[in-house]
């Protein structure tokens, strides 16, 4: 039997995670579509311009009121500040007035002309994020237009029941008026993940699906709808079954979120009491705060290449020291693992990657480059040793492929310390030294390398690339880039065994460490520390807390009996699927 309330599922873009179920509230903000064009007599032009300026001022006052009313902690107030600046922008404000004067037309028409031209420029852009930026300009122009024509605005602040907002588009000004007591979530026809509406939804922590194209035409006010901001779908007129399913999902998600937030700062300890340090990888000093918020136990990989990009000369020791010191001081007493330059610096300065060398991955980079450019290397080593006097620093040498390289690097570190002593600068030479294990030769020579270092850090991305001879950027072979390849797992185990035997620590800082389904394996292998993108820390901690290390050790034996990456993956899924399945919510 067919009814007019058939369940409809529409797919959009998941802009903010979460699930809400409720009544739709349609907000129609398309009041000003038809713009009339008419001529203005020369004597009336000053008045027309005055009328335009008054409309801009009104928009400005409205925005200012909203900014003032917004609680300080709302991160998006600065979007509104940008809108205030846009109101007086030469290309919008100045040009509209120019057209009014030059062509003797009404302000609405002049504004429309300016905006249409701008939209055309934006539409031709290829970068989706920048393309979306036209919405800021359009929203500002819309607000002036509404004040020019006197069209009514929807007053979102006046909504008096708990609803889900449905709109063609929401301006930041509109979204900031959202009353969290009343609005459970929202969906829009326009917008993308990077649009401000999405950013605001995430900062308000309410579910949102955007870019649905025709939500406003397929949903009517008071329709019962489900917004699934995790998978980016909206269900209109859900059936009883669907409702039950989503009620459960909603509860699961809320519990999951509560747990994650509460526990992200607590240590990652397995069910049998083994504690693992879960660290973050960073590139910029600014990332430190996110890392602390996500509960990172330290920095397992501080990439230092960034300061060598986009300039014509090498950064000075002072510059480097300043940056390192910032990070080290904020993190103190937690460790900061500084990896020395991992690129070809000459090329970075010249901005010429992939030039000259036909095979840069196998070329002059990282430690090879540094040893060839002692002055560049020494400046960095001195900066690191000086930063080490301000907190807990470890140094990590990348791309070690022979013992000779490691000894040379250590010798230069000693020289750097001696020169600092001579210069009377404060420094600390008594820091842990580590070697990146990312070249197969280093795996084979691990026992010898171990004699010269305090820790190993496995860089899985390069190790996989070099071991399996796979260029990930090459579409033809990218699918063969398999962290779970038995060859890789045996290598990891070998390195970890050597580390244990030589009583040094073993860390991992590649992508593999931040992937939940690799964790049982890595625990079984016996990693002391994992380092990853800061956002994934809470999730990895959660997985570790659900695992028993003794069990993962016997699990590892089963894994080592596998002969393909696929069967290994299946085995992980079969054994730990229930722990890992909660993952769906982290997307």
């Amino acid at each position: 039997m067919e009814t007019d309330t058939k369940e409809i599922i529409i797919k959009g873009i998941n802009a903010s995670p979460g699930i809400c179920i409720g009544k739709a509230y349609l907000v129609d903000s398309e009041g000003v579509e038809v713009i009339e064009k008419y001529q203005i007599q020369a004597k009336d032009l000053p008045n027309e311009i005055k009328r335009f300026k008054a409309a801009v001022k009104k928009s400005r006052d409205e925005l200012r009121k909203i900014v003032e009313k917004s609680p300080e902690e709302l991160q998006h107030a600065h979007i509104l500040e940008t809108h205030m600046a846009l109101l007086k922008d030469k290309m919008l404000y100045g040009r509209t007035i120019d057209i009014v004067k030059r062509e003797g037309v009404n302000a609405e028409w002049a504004l429309k002309t300016v905006v249409s031209n701008l939209i055309e420029v934006f539409q031709n852009m290829t970068d989706p994020y920048l393309k979306e930026r036209s919405t800021d300009v359009v929203q500002v122009a819309d607000s002036i237009m509404q004040n020019l024509t006197g069209a009514d605005k929807v007053n979102i602040a006046a909504i008096d029941k708990r609803v889900i907002l449905i709109a063609h588009d929401l301006t930041p000004a509109e979204t900031s008026q959202i009353n969290l007591e009343r609005v459970m979530g929202f969906i829009t026809d326009r917008g993308g993940k990077a649009a401000h509406t999405g950013i605001i939804a995430r900062s308000l922590e309410i579910p949102a699906v955007v870019g649905l194209k025709n939500a406003t035409s397929s949903i009517r006010s008071d329709d019962l709808i489900i917004v699934d901001g995790i998978s980016g779908i909206v269900i209109i007129h859900p059936t009883e079954d669907t409702l039950v399913k989503y009620e459960e999902r909603k509860i699961d998600y809320e519990e999951y979120k509560a747990v994650i937030t509460r526990e992200s700062k607590a240590p990652a300890e397995s069910t049998d009491g083994v504690r693992l340090a879960v660290m973050g990888n960073i590139e910029l000093p600014e990332e430190v705060f996110a890392l602390i918020n996500y509960g990172g136990d330290g920095i397992g990989l501080y990439r230092t290449e960034f300061q060598y990009f986009n300039r014509t000369d090498f950064p000075s020791e002072e510059e480097l020291f300043d940056k390192y010191k910032d990070v080290v001081e904020v993190m103190n007493p937690k460790p900061v693992t500084i990896r020395t330059l991992d690129i070809n610096g000459d090329k970075a300065l010249m901005n010429q990657f992939n030039s000259e060398e036909t095979n840069p991955a196998l070329g002059l980079r990282a430690i090879r480059y540094c040893l060839k450019k002692p002055q560049v290397f020494k400046d960095q080593l001195r900066a690191i040793l000086r930063a080490a006097a301000c907190g807990n620093v470890r140094i990590l040498f990348p791309m070690i492929s022979t013992c000779f390289e490691l000894r040379e690097a250590t010798r230069m570190l000693d020289e750097a310390a001696e020169s600092l002593e001579k210069d009377g600068l404060s420094y600390n030479r008594d820091i842990e030294i580590g070697a990146m294990i990312e070249v197969p030769s280093a795996v084979i020579m691990a026992d010898v390398i171990a004699e010269n270092v305090d820790f190993f850090s496995i860089g899985t991305n390069d190790l996989i690339q070099y071991t399996l001879a796979i260029d990930r950027g090459n579409e033809e072979v990218a699918h063969l880039f398999q962290p779970l390849d038995p060859a890789i797992i045996r290598m990891l185990k070998h390195v970890a065994d050597v580390a244990r035997e030589k009583a040094i620590k073993i860390f991992m800082c590649g992508e593999m460490a931040g992937t939940p389904h690799h964790i049982p394996l890595l625990l079984g292998i016996g990693m002391d520390e994992l380092s990853m993108n800061p956002q994934t820390i809470p999730d990895i901690k959660r997985v570790i807390r659900a695992l028993n290390v003794t069990e993962t050790r016997s699990f590892l034996k089963e894994v080592l009996a596998q002969t393909t990456a696929k069967s290994t993956f299946e085995l992980i899924k079969a054994t730990y699927g229930s722990i890992l399945s909660e993952q769906v919510y982290s997307e």
């Binding site: 600065h78 979007i79 500040e81 940008t82 600046a85 846009l86 922008d89 030469k90 290309m91 919008l92 701008l118 420029v121 934006f122 852009m125 290829t126 970068d127 994020y129 920048l130 930026r133 036209s134 800021d136 300009v137 990077a194 910029l284 600014e286 960034f306 990009f309 986009n310 901005n351």
Partner: protein, 93 residues
């Protein structure tokens, strides 16, 4: 002569993840608006008025884009430096 001229321009690369979007453009425009003469941003053969957010946005500078900032009067050198620093710092994002 050529030395004099190059003193009034700086080459920088956009490093922040989101490129020159409205908020970062607004920060540049705020600085450029304090100058005595014009401040220009050039990308390839396109030139934009640095005091206009909209004009900056039309250059569509995503992450990795190299741009040149140029001033017309050396009394604005500090503004040139400040804008360069702002971009090089990734707008503190």
């Amino acid at each position: 002569m050529s030395n004099r001229k190059s003193a009034l321009r700086r080459n920088v690369t956009i490093i922040n993840e989101l490129g020159l979007h409205a908020r970062s453009a607004a920060k540049i425009a705020e600085l450029a608006n304090q100058s005595t003469s014009s401040v220009w941003i050039t990308r390839d053969d396109q030139k934009a008025d640095a005091s206009s957010i909209v004009d900056i946005l039309t250059l569509a500078c995503e992450k990795g884009t190299r741009i040149e900032i140029c001033i017309e009067n050396k009394v604005d050198l500090h503004i040139l430096e400040n804008i360069t620093k702002l971009i090089e710092s990734g707008f503190g994002e």
